[in-house]
Amino acid sequence: MTGQAHRDPFFHGDGITLRFGGLTALSGVGFHVRRNSLQAIIGPNGAGKTSLFNVITGIYRMDDGEVHLEGKRISGLPPHGVARHGIVRTFQNLEIFTNMTVLENVLTGGHLLVKYGLADFFFRTPRFFREERDLRERAVTALDFVGLSSHRNLPAGQLPFGSQRLLEIARALSAEPRILLLDEPAAGLNMKETTALGDLIRRIVERGITVVMVEHDMDLVMRISERILVLNYGEVIASGTPAEIQRDPAVVAAYLGEE
């Protein structure tokens, strides 16, 4: 780990271990992410990439290790607790709310930003209208940001696959997260969509959101990520800039097998 990461440990995890019965999905994984950066996580299938996301967001309970955000410990919290600290994720195989419209999906994303209570929504107080209107504006902006605002009243289930991916990102953005975890956002997209996705992710980072992306599409990873973490069989085998990673023998071996 290069020294530079230690000076600003915005978001970091140490010694993360996760076991499913006999199988060890993650052992002793550590990571450091600088504020407002774009970190990618790569590794062959089954390396534990998604498990790491599941552990960070509290869907799985880690057997050992800790995760800190700006000094505050967030490991051990349930998913909705982790979300309160501004960490939101998308899913590898799309978990959009098909029983709602595109706009309603994104409104749900902003769930934590609205504070009105029982009395407000039951008796329609001015606070309810005000907060709902603000949320609605934020949702429309998030949809504009990903270019879906024209489909806002369509049932989410009717969107084509590529747009559903963008919807999930828009939904995450409307929560105004500090850290956005993207789980294989480019999976199933064609060349044109992947390039557009790369620009979108850059624009997200420029908005001040730290992005951590699990991804297989090497062109995309190498093109837009500032640092890369490589996992294999649940262990970290390399970490560094795209250039360093491309030359790292351990990574080449893991991916291409021994010469």
Partner: protein
């Protein structure tokens, strides 16, 4: 009547009634394994088993050894009809909608039986004559041996079918992923019809072997359906072995509850224990609680 023989008596009679809960639960499992539907008309298949046998005797004058298989075949045909007329046309609908359809079907079957066979209760002669058998202070009807034997045979047949035959595996595949199964060349719709036929057959078998002990009428299906569903859950949904064992355990729990605690609260006792087990093992005794794959 020592306490021990009383206890043995509770267990024996509990196991006998429990076996029918098990057979009904097996019927639930077969359909659940193929379609993820809980078939609320399962209790009616059990009722029709007993009633068709009774009326094959009365109207058709058919002797018992012929009436029983005839009844089971008849109900199997009804099972296929139910699938063809109500479930197949609405393939792929959400499980809750299909469950309500099976509720409608159970009302139809019950109403039809009431109109055709009337509202009275009917006895069915025992399969083999002879008085009760004495076993360590407790007594057992010969018919209970038939109940235990047939239940065991059916369970083994079901386990063999699901684990060792191709169509058995095909049926399981349909439940896991309908699209993938059809891509593998499995004709999903006929598998579902087969599952309804099997569950109707198993249910009718349960109805026919129990009728000589407990009499039958057009509305015995409701309580049996309820207990069969509970047995299914107790054993772990989708697990044939769990279904039958769950049924027998439920029957014994009820019998012990009545004998040792209070006969009025016997069903309550059985359900309290069932719920406690459910809270401890949310996927039933033998069910596998798969972690949610995200």
């Amino acid at each position: 009547m020592t306490a021990a023989s009383a206890f043995l008596q509770y267990v024996i009679s509990g196991a006998t009634v429990g076996s029918t809960y098990g057979l009904t639960a097996l019927g639930f499992t077969v359909i659940f394994n193929t379609t993820e539907i809980i078939n609320f008309a399962q209790g009616e298949f059990v009722m029709l088993g007993g009633m068709l046998a009774v009326f094959a005797l009365r109207w058709g004058g058919v002797p018992l050894p012929a009436a029983v298989p005839l009844a089971v075949l008849g109900v199997t045909a009804i099972g296929v009809l139910v699938d063809r007329l109500t479930i197949r046309p609405v393939r792929g609908r959400s499980p809750i909608t299909l469950i309500i359809i099976t509720i409608g079907v159970s009302i139809l079957l019950r109403g039809g039986a009431m109109l055709l066979f009337g509202k009275d209760t009917f006895p069915l002669p025992a399969f083999s004559p002879g008085g009760p058998i004495h076993l360590g202070g407790a007594t057992l009807l010969p018919q209970s041996l038939w109940v235990g034997g047939i239940t065991l045979l059916t369970l083994l047949a079901m386990k063999f079918f699901f684990e060792r035959t191709l169509s058995g595996k095909a049926m399981l595949a349909c439940a896991c992923d309908r699209k993938a199964a059809s891509l593998m060349g499995i004709h999903v719709e006929s598998m579902v019809t087969l599952s309804f036929a099997f569950s109707a057959m198993v249910g009718a078998l349960g109805g026919v072997i129990l009728a000589p002990i407990t009499l039958t009428s057009y509305d015995v299906g409701i309580l049996l359906g309820l207990k069969g569903f509970a047995a299914c859950i107790l054993g772990g949904l989708g697990n044939p072995f769990g279904a039958v064992v769950g049924g027998v355990i439920l029957g014994i729990l009820e019998s012990l509850g009545a004998g040792l605690l209070s006969s009025g609260y016997k069903d309550a006792v059985a359900f309290v224990i069932l719920l406690a087990l459910l809270f401890l093992r949310p996927a039933g005794l033998f069910g596998s609680s798969g972690a949610e794959r995200v």
